[in-house]
């Protein structure tokens, strides 16, 4: 992988995108997202199996009900000194908080969000829109550096093999040592053409947002 591709690969990663390398001079940028709104989907994030509330990674004292960080404590409540700290669901209406028998049993196992309870599960509902559906969004990405405000596709030496509906070109516009901008093109739209750079972005994250767009809930 050449240094320019590697630099862009790291920029994708810094923006939450996974990179997969080929033997050729392009790579795949991929992300697991909500199938309805495009918001990132985190399989390492856990939810309460009972009510769907997100794991907030907090302890709660069952005596004085204070929340506290799961690491700053020495397993004693910072308010009342009690040792009854549990990784409880933060939804007060959750069955694990409302049903006395269930609450007591779960707390003996460390709380809903303690692994021993067996009552936490990887993310099932979108954080942004509440959808139950996720999918992989993936694009083939070729990187080229351009010094002029126009490029000729035929001079870019893009392998025919990488061209498909999902292939994109990231142009790094670098006319001098000071300026660094980016523009994204769907490769099929540029085939055989001379293309002006008319929508340059100052920040790489704008390129990522263009590829992995999100319909944010109000």
């Amino acid at each position: 992988m050449n240094i320019d591709d590697k630099s862009i690969a790291y920029a994708f990663i810094a923006n939450g995108v996974q990179i997969y390398l080929s033997d050729d001079d392009y790579f795949i940028a991929s992300k697991l997202v909500c199938a309805e709104c495009g918001y990132p989907w985190y399989m390492n994030l856990t939810e309460c199996f009972l009510c769907g509330e997100i794991n907030k990674f907090l302890y709660r004292c069952s005596d004085c009900f204070t929340f506290q960080s799961i690491t700053k404590s020495n397993m004693k409540c910072k308010e009342c000194g009690s040792s009854n700290l549990y990784m409880m669901c933060s939804n007060p209406d959750c069955l694990s908080n409302k049903d006395v028998e269930i609450k007591s049993r779960i707390n003996k196992l460390g709380g809903v969000f303690n692994k021993n309870s067996g009552l936490l599960i990887a993310q099932q509902y979108c954080i942004n829109c509440g959808s139950n559906f996720h999918e992989y969004k993936s694009y083939k990405i070729a990187i080229r550096i351009v010094n002029d405000e126009e490029f000729d596709y035929d001079s870019l030496n893009i392998s025919e093999d990488m061209v498909s509906d999902n292939s994109y070109l990231v142009i790094k516009y670098k006319p001098n040592e000071v300026i660094l901008k980016y523009e994204l093109f769907r490769i099929k739209d540029t085939l055989g053409k001379k293309v002006p750079l008319s929508n340059l972005k100052d920040k790489f994250e704008d390129i990522v947002d263009e590829l992995f767009s999100i319909r944010l809930m109000k």
Binding site: S30, N44, L58, F65, N116, G118, G130
Partner: protein
């Protein structure tokens, strides 16, 4: 054409796959798989970071399924029907194991159950015999569908959500040279047969409906609960009822969003700023390991807090 292809075959002539021990075999086994997929004309991509998908494989095939198992229709039309090809993509999660008492034992966690049907499990038996290796290749949809159709649910026990639910039903029968799950034949997922199934473009052509079908399968299996030795029968009954109620309720997306909004509001009312910041830091850490993998030394769990 299939009958002429040896798959998998060892691409590394200087070493036997069975000669690698547990400590150093991840790289070589994944390379072994990659080279074998390339032999079937897939374009294969390896992860920059170790994040759970071990390889991505891409191929262009005829939308009517005319493409041979070792053919790639890239930039060509189908020689049978003249249609141009469509690009299919598979996200491959690899589990390599040695047989123990003829059992291929492996663990799946809830984070491994994706509902995008292009997600594929490739179970690599690297010493079916010293000279024979096998791939069991199965899409997540077929995997869930198998359990659903046969009234088996390995996802209901608490051990699945604890992350230590070892699946020990996949077996190899040396006498008859056959793979099975319990008493069910799994030859249809073995080697070239498995590869044929995942080359089916219907998944890609009908992606939205296939995702919905996979989610329905996942919900019927994952939103199930068996008490094991951890909980009482009374608790089991209450939890099952709650799961069923919420699964129906949350078909209305606004309800789960409102529940989470209220819980967040409750947390904010009842936490000091340091505690809230700790919670936010942890969330950032989770986002990070989804992208760069858990083994990264750039940040540890402790840093998040």
């Amino acid at each position: 054409m299939c009958d002429e292809i040896k798959f998998p075959s060892n691409p590394f002539e200087d070493i036997k796959p069975s000669d690698f021990n547990k400590l150093n075999k991840k790289n070589v086994t994944e390379d072994f798989i990659e080279e074998n997929l390339k032999e079937l004309a897939w374009d294969v991509f390896k992860p920059f970071n170790d994040t759970g998908i071990d390889r991505i494989a891409i191929k262009t095939v005829c939308s009517d399924g005319h493409t041979e198992i070792d053919e790639n229709l890239r930039n060509q039309e189908c020689s049978i029907c003249g249609k141009s090809g469509i690009e299919i993509i598979r996200f491959i999660q690899i589990k390599t194991r040695q047989l123990k008492n003829n059992v291929f034992g492996f663990t799946l966690k809830s984070k491994d159950i994706r509902i995008d049907p292009r997600h594929v499990y490739l179970l690599y038996s690297d010493n079916t015999t010293a000279d024979k290796q096998d791939f069991i290749i199965i899409s997540v949809k077929d995997f869930l569908s198998f359990f659903n159709s046969n009234n088996i649910n390995p996802f209901a026990p608490t051990s699945f959500r604890k992350g230590n639910n070892k699946l020990n039903s996949l077996r190899y029968d040396h006498v008859n040279d056959k793979w099975s799950w319990g008493s069910y034949d799994w030859e249809l997922f073995r080697n070239l047969e498995g590869m044929k199934k995942i080359q089916d473009p219907k998944i890609d052509l009908n992606l939205a409906s296939e995702i919905m079908a996979t989610r329905n399968l996942a919900n019927s299996l994952l939103r199930s609960f068996s008490k094991g030795q951890t909980y009482s029968e009374i608790i089991e009954t209450k939890i099952k009822s709650e799961l069923e109620k919420n699964l129906n309720l949350y078909k209305n997306k606004a309800i789960i969003l409102e529940l989470r909004r209220k819980a967040q509001e409750y947390i904010e009312l009842n936490c000091d700023e340091d505690t809230l910041q700790s919670s936010r830091n942890y969330f950032e850490y989770i986002k990070l390991i989804d992208t760069i993998g858990e083994n990264s030394d750039s940040m540890s769990e402790g840093d998040a807090q």
